[in-house]
Amino acid sequence: MTRGSFIFLVLFALSHFLESEEIAEVRSLESMEDQNRFNSLLLIYRCPKCQSSSLSGSDAPIAKDLKGQIKRLIEEGKNDKEIDNFLRQRYGDYISYKPPFRRNTLILWLSPFFLLLGILFMAIIWNIKKRDEESDLEAENVIKAVERTRLKGILEEES
């Protein structure tokens, strides 16, 4: 390792340290209860800029602003419902990972149940079919056995 790269590594590590301190500042809340609430809220809401990441997992400036705002709302004594309304009014339903149960989200909520019903239906039909085939086979075997003994009898009579 050259001296240059060593210095770079040290600086890189330090810069990370500074960053985490900054985040800690945003996240410090008076009571443990509020802090836990804050942390769980950050997992529910989406960063509007980087749409596949939660607020908690995003360092985008807008995510930082929203974290600050949620923190302020908690400090003002707002409950979860009020915070949810605040975010939805501004950023729409998209901001939350929990979609509301409404007419235009019916498919989203109900399709898994219909899929399950469909699979159940198919499974039952498949089972019936299989059982039918098995009983057919059994019947065939019985007939074969009967015929075999009859044939044997005929052969023995002739000899």
């Binding site: 509007p48 807008i62 729409g92």
Partner: protein, 183 residues
């Protein structure tokens, strides 16, 4: 019945294919549906960029106007700037700026940095609202710049456009709504 069941997976596959095929056409431009569409423009009380005066939503004119979110750090804002200047020269519509989280540079504060840029490249805005902390921007659901809002004479938000505003978007999105408003 038994024959039909044999074709069920094929049917399922076809439905899936058709459904997914529909999505191919929809270009994902990262635009979120705005929660503020057809809602009243949020009230605010913030300093003007050009002076120390405070302005509110009541200072916008009572006819349709654009509110354009911009900042000097926003590269795409520079891309749409010539088109905003074009709209201003044609006096097509009143344009207001929302200077969003301006950064300070070399002992100059955000206001000075922003004003300097406008002097250099031209100012398409009647005035700009100086929103250093992004307070109004948050009430508008802004999550980046540039963004452009079209507000009608009743102060209701009719269009929210995220990204660069150019002639094509203007023609397809804005002119249609403006025409409807005039009818």
């Amino acid at each position: 019945m038994k024959q039909a069941i044999k074709y069920l997976p094929l049917l399922f596959f076809l439905i899936l294919t058709i459904t997914l095929f529909q999505f191919l056409d929809k270009r994902d431009d990262g635009q979120l549906p705005s929660a503020l569409l057809d809602k009243q423009f949020p009230s605010f009380y913030l300093p003007k960029l050009e002076s120390e005066a405070l302005v509110s939503q009541k200072d916008f004119i009572k006819s349709p106007y654009l509110l354009n979110v911009w900042a000097t750090w926003c590269i795409a804002c520079r891309v749409e700037h010539p088109f905003l200047m074009f709209l201003k020269e044609k006096s097509e519509i009143a344009i207001y700026g929302l200077n969003y989280k301006e950064i300070s540079k070399h002992e100059k504060d955000g206001k000075e940095v922003a004003m300097e840029l406008l002097k250099k490249i031209g100012n398409p805005y009647e005035f700009s609202v100086f929103d250093e902390e992004g307070k109004l921007a948050m009430d508008l659901g802004v999550y980046g710049a540039p963004e452009t809002f079209l507000v009608d004479k009743e102060g209701v938000i009719r269009i929210r456009h995220v990204g660069v505003l150019g002639p094509e978007v203007w023609k397809e999105k804005f002119e249609k709504v403006l025409r409807e408003m005039n009818d």
